[in-house]
């Protein structure tokens, strides 16, 4: 691990550009039932390290400078901060109980954490470790996103079936959008005009206009040979070029490829069992999916829309991030 990093920093930039996307880029995967992170070298596509962390790690996210990794250790009731140079936990944040997912504000300081058991969103300053606010939301808050412009923090509550809109300047909940049963994940598009929200049990993805907070389109999915009740959207990823949305469809073991402009489903890709969350590599040529039941990561070639590889990780992989 350390060796390639050293080389990378020592090499001239021109040389680096040759293979910038694949050279020593690393994916971190949280293994919910192993209390570990798997580290995958994306050059060789192999697991190079397994790091012990707090109990039941789920949501993970990188600091903007990629030097730190925040880890929701749900059953330890804390958010851990890992130094990515040393892979050691350097600090813990007061997260509130049972943190599941979180989102980092573009200011790189304010972390918005969904506390699943307490129906709260906790906002923590990652530098001072102060709790800036706790905001009451619906039952079982789960999905969390902050818009790229930093204006909105959005949370979904699984049993209340709502998207909650939090104004980040006042930490106040200012609006709610009712969506289908068990909303799991939210994702803003690049210009923050639209919010995509998946509903696991409803089997739909709602595309919400941020300006009006109204649903403008509801996507449904149909996979030949799979019972409709098993098509359960969870993770959502949008390409920066606005071309595709990838929707992880849980126990149907498929990822839907959606044209992000026409909202037509173009394809369904067969991945591992119970696919939850996803992440792109830096140039978005590859997509990685966490497959909880099969305990592996599927690698999707984004240009060809083909699954090219699966990589065994720990038990119940949940979240994935990529450090270029």
């Amino acid at each position: 691990m350390k060796f390639p990093k050293f080389i990378r920093s020592a090499l001239p930039a021109a040389l680096m550009a040759v293979s910038a996307s694949s050279y020593a880029a690393v994916a971190y995967v949280s293994n919910e039932k192993d209390d570990t992170l798997s580290v995958i070298d994306l050059d060789t596509m192999t697991v190079t390290d397994t790091i012990e962390v707090g109990q039941r790690p789920r949501g993970i996210t990188l600091s903007k400078d990629m030097s730190k990794l925040y880890i929701c250790a749900s059953d330890s009731d804390t958010v851990q901060i890992m130094d990515l140079k040393t892979h050691s936990i350097i600090s813990e944040l007061p997260s509130g109980e049972d943190p599941e997912q979180f989102a980092l504000h573009p200011n790189d300081r304010h972390l918005y954490i969904a506390n699943e058991d307490d129906a709260l969103v906790t906002v923590v300053d990652t530098e001072t470790h102060d709790v800036l606010a706790q905001i009451d939301v619906g039952v079982e808050p789960e999905g969390m996103a902050v818009s790229h412009n930093g204006k909105w923090a959005v949370n979904t509550s699984e049993t209340t079936n709502m998207v909650h809109w939090i104004d980040t300047s006042t930490y106040e909940l200012v609006d709610n959008t009712l969506v289908d049963q068990r909303p799991r994940h939210v994702e803003f598009n690049k210009d923050d005009s639209l919010l995509w929200a998946s509903s696991e049990i409803g089997g739909t993805v709602s595309v919400i206009d941020v300006e009006s907070r109204q649903i403008i389109k509801k996507l449904t999915f149909e996979i030949a040979g799979v019972h409709p009740d098993k098509v359960q959207p969870v993770g959502v990823k949008l390409t920066d070029d606005g071309k595709y949305a990838f929707i992880a469809l849980g126990p149907s073991n498929h990822v839907a490829v959606v044209d992000a402009k026409t909202y037509e489903v173009e394809d369904y890709l067969l991945v591992g069992r119970r696919v939850w969350h996803m992440e792109f590599n830096e140039d978005e040529s590859q997509l990685y999916t966490t497959n909880g039941v099969s305990g592996d990561i599927s690698v999707v070639d984004v240009d060809k829309l083909k699954v090219t590889k699966s990589i065994k990780v720990g038990r119940y992989p949940w979240g994935v991030v990529v450090k270029p």
Binding site: A133, N161, N176
Partner: protein
């Protein structure tokens, strides 16, 4: 701002902020809150002593689930200006229970969660007008889903037939096709045995012998001697047992003449709900329940919870607290309930039965969940469990 945070202090912090967040629900703030009144009625006949020292069912089984349902719904209701409230009556006197329900009805109460046996539920349904909406969280009687159709009752607890079909499918998938049926002498044991026989016929199992347990001795010290002789019949693949109260069934395991599994009311059990169910977010529901009530969530708790949540879901969608409006919505194909069983649930529009997967468990683990793969149905595979439309005389109006 809030440096008070350490794990146990969350609630205190939450309360501080509650005041500031609630009034800011801009668009909704102007509206009057919609109040939804639910009455929980529990008639519990005196429990005879079980002959085995089984773990007793908690006194508030059902009620605790309904309370959690109210709490969950109010968290949602906060954002939609809905207020859910519940009152309850627990009684061991059926006549008094009925009077109480009638008085409530006369006062305008229309939404009820009922936890009582079939006969008392029928009396309740009759005593309350056709515009009442009663959720049956207590009786698993098959006749209420097939012959005796109560137009103002919806069933959130599965019928015995749903449970035994769930087991029958699994036995079929395991090729355990020859059954020894042992049943107790109580009426509910006979009903369970009848459901098992119906299941055997449906899924092509053969009952090689049928025995009624009539011993009245306490088996705790003698099971190893008595049970092998009692189970010495033609060879079977599995012993299916109908002993709802738990008089003897626990002692069949490991004591049968042939070393065979035991399933039914003991051994491998088809259940509404159990602590071992933790998939599909169920861990969160279990944790919320345990935090509030300091015990495990039972099947009756789940059924009562599902009743309250069905009401709340239809209130949210129809923006009404009128029982007739809610009933119509619940029985429509638009209704869907996320209830931690891995898929959305809805009601059979002929019998008012909540369709639901059935977990098959042993006390420390989930073994399987039915419907089993490969049991097909033109509408939904959930209707391979229990009385399907052509098998039921019920047609809800």
């Amino acid at each position: 701002m809030l440096n008070c945070l350490k794990k146990p202090l969350l609630t205190a912090c939450a309360t501080l902020l509650l005041a500031s967040t609630i009034p800011s629900n801009n668009a909704l703030a102007a509206k009057q809150p919609l109040t939804i009144d639910i009455a929980y009625l529990h008639y519990q006949p005196e429990r005879p002593p079980a002959l085995s020292n089984v773990l007793p069912e908690p006194e508030d089984a059902g009620l605790a689930g309904a309370k959690l349902g109210i709490k969950d719904s109010n968290t949602t209701g906060r954002f939609l200006k809905q207020k859910y409230q519940m009152s309850h009556t627990l009684s061991d006197d059926p006549a008094q229970m009925l009077e109480d329900a009638k008085a409530r009805y006369a006062n305008g109460q229309r939404l009820f969660i009922a936890n009582m046996p079939s006969a008392e539920l029928q009396a309740l349904s009759k005593a309350l007008g056709p515009d009442a909406l009663i959720f049956n969280a207590g009786s698993q009687a098959d006749e209420l889903r097939s012959e005796i159709c109560l137009n103002n009752v919806l069933h959130t607890t599965p019928s015995r037939a749903m449970l035994t079909d769930a087991l029958g499918q699994w036995l079929n998938a395991k090729r355990l096709k020859e059954w020894l049926l042992i049943s107790g002498s109580q009426p509910e044991d006979k009903a369970y045995a009848a459901a098992l026989k119906r299941t055997a016929k449906r899924f092509g199992a053969e009952i090689v012998d049928e025995k009624q347990w009539s011993f009245d001795t306490d088996l705790r010290r003698t099971a190893q001697k008595e049970v092998p002789l009692f189970t010495q019949t033609d060879e079977y693949d599995v012993v299916v047992v109908a002993d709802e109260r738990g008089d003897f069934g626990e002692y069949l395991l490991y004591n049968t003449w042939y070393p065979r599994p035991v399933a039914g009311t003991q051994g491998l059990m088809p259940v509404t709900w159990h602590r071992v169910v933790e998939q599909w977010g169920a861990a969160q529901l279990q944790r919320r329940f345990e935090k509030k009530h300091k015990r495990w969530m039972t099947g009756k708790d789940y059924a009562a919870w599902a009743g309250v949540r069905s009401i709340a879901e239809s209130v949210t969608q129809t923006k009404s607290n009128d029982a007739a409006t809610l009933r119509q919505y619940i029985l429509s194909d638009k209704f869907q309930l996320a209830a931690f069983k891995g898929r959305k649930l809805n009601y059979r529009d002929w019998s008012g039965q909540l369709r639901q997967p059935i977990p098959l468990i042993h006390p420390r683990a989930l073994v399987s969940q039915s419907p089993q793969q490969g049991f097909l149905h033109p509408v939904t595979d959930l209707d391979t469990l229990g009385f399907d439309k052509p098998e039921s005389r019920c047609r809800m109006q």
